[in-house]
């Protein structure tokens, strides 16, 4: 798994330039900017753990674990209108459901890249907490 460049380091911007939907995310936070910042921080922390869990499950050949974690990640990303991450997470989940671990690993690479593109936008949202303090 380490003979290819890490997608996190080679991520390209999303084709449509939108990695998340701030309006939809703010609506889900009830229009509360501070709550949205808190949520963004939570997702930034948790998604790092989920990626580690995914890598571990792939290494162990744990299809159920891959599926479960990808499902959790895309569900959480949906709260921010992060369509690209959701699509990539779904691809991992579906490959795992089909028992295709090699395909799931490839899809996981794309998922990491999508999360890397999402990160600056989430950091900006998380920063609004400090900006409003």
């Amino acid at each position: 798994m380490h003979d290819r460049p890490d997608p996190l380091l080679t991520a390209a911007p999303a084709p449509d330039g939108r990695v998340l939907d701030v309006g939809a995310a703010l609506a889900r936070a009830g229009g509360d900017v501070r709550l949205l910042a808190e949520l963004a921080n939570m997702f930034l922390e948790d998604s790092a753990g989920w990626l580690a869990d995914l890598a571990g499950a792939l290494q162990r050949g744990d299809v159920a674990g891959v599926r479960f974690t990808a499902h959790l990640l895309r569900g959480s990303a949906a709260n921010f209108g992060a369509q690209e991450v959701c699509r990539a997470g779904r691809a991992v989940e579906e490959r795992a459901r089909a028992g295709d671990l090699r395909g799931a690993a490839a899809a996981c690479g794309e998922l990491k890249a999508c999360l890397l593109r999402l990160r600056p936008a989430l950091l900006a949202l998380a920063g609004t907490e400090e900006g409003n303090a």
């Binding site: 889900r28 936070a29 009830g30 949520l39 939570m42 959790l72 569900g75 959480s76």
Partner: protein, 208 residues
């Protein structure tokens, strides 16, 4: 109204807690299906639950199935909130015991409306249960009056459940909605009241 939130994603839990609190609901949040099941079978269980489908421990659908097997007249209202958005999943969720089904990410207005719908159904359930209790109590009274009553052959008093002998009218008053107004029937007037009045030197109404 207390609402149980069960989801392994703390982002969703936080969003739901904030929204429900804003709408005036008390919340209790858990991160897995087993904790949700324990909360829903507790004596003071929340009457409304928002359950994720895929969770560690027990999944939300299994929680629904178990809750539906609980012997209770006031079952909780269960809403499955999940990213599983296929028609077969929705059908399986509802057939598995969920009262309602929503997909993530959810719309706040829609969730609020569905909570209100659920509350209406819970209130109807409570009213029906209370009416059923009242009907059963009334039926118990009828059964008591229809049963075999031990009555004294001489004084006509009735023995109650505590082995005390009661006047017939006291017993019936205590075990039914019937009330008595006292008067004298013509036969008793002739046999008892008339002679007594005559003995006292007064004339009764029938005697002019």
């Amino acid at each position: 109204m207390k609402v149980l939130i069960a989801d392994d994603d703390r982002v969703i839990r936080r969003i739901l807690e904030a929204a429900l609190s804003e709408w005036g609901y008390a919340t209790v949040a858990v991160a897995d299906g087993r904790a949700a099941w324990e909360a829903l079978r507790a004596p003071d269980a929340p009457r409304f639950a928002i359950l994720d489908w895929l969770m560690p421990g027990l999944d939300g659908l299994e929680v629904c199935r178990r809750v539906r097997e609980l012997p209770t007249r006031l079952p909780p209202y269960l809403l499955l909130l999940t990213v599983r958005d296929s028609r077969p999943d929705i059908v399986a969720g509802l057939q598995g015991g969920a009262d309602d089904y929503m997909t993530k990410p959810f719309d706040h207005n829609e969730l609020q409306a569905r909570l209100q719908t659920g509350l209406r159904i819970l209130r109807l359930q409570e009213e029906l249960a209370a009416e059923l209790r009242r009907s059963q109590q009334a039926l118990e009274l009828v059964k008591q009056l229809q049963g075999l009553l031990p009555i004294c052959g001489y004084c006509k008093r009735i023995r109650d459940d505590h082995d005390a002998w009661q006047q017939l009218e006291d017993y019936i008053s205590a075990h039914s909605e019937a009330r008595f107004s006292h008067g004298v029937c013509p036969r008793c007037w002739e046999e008892h009241v008339g002679p007594e009045l005559r003995r006292l030197g007064a004339a009764g109404p029938d005697n002019g």
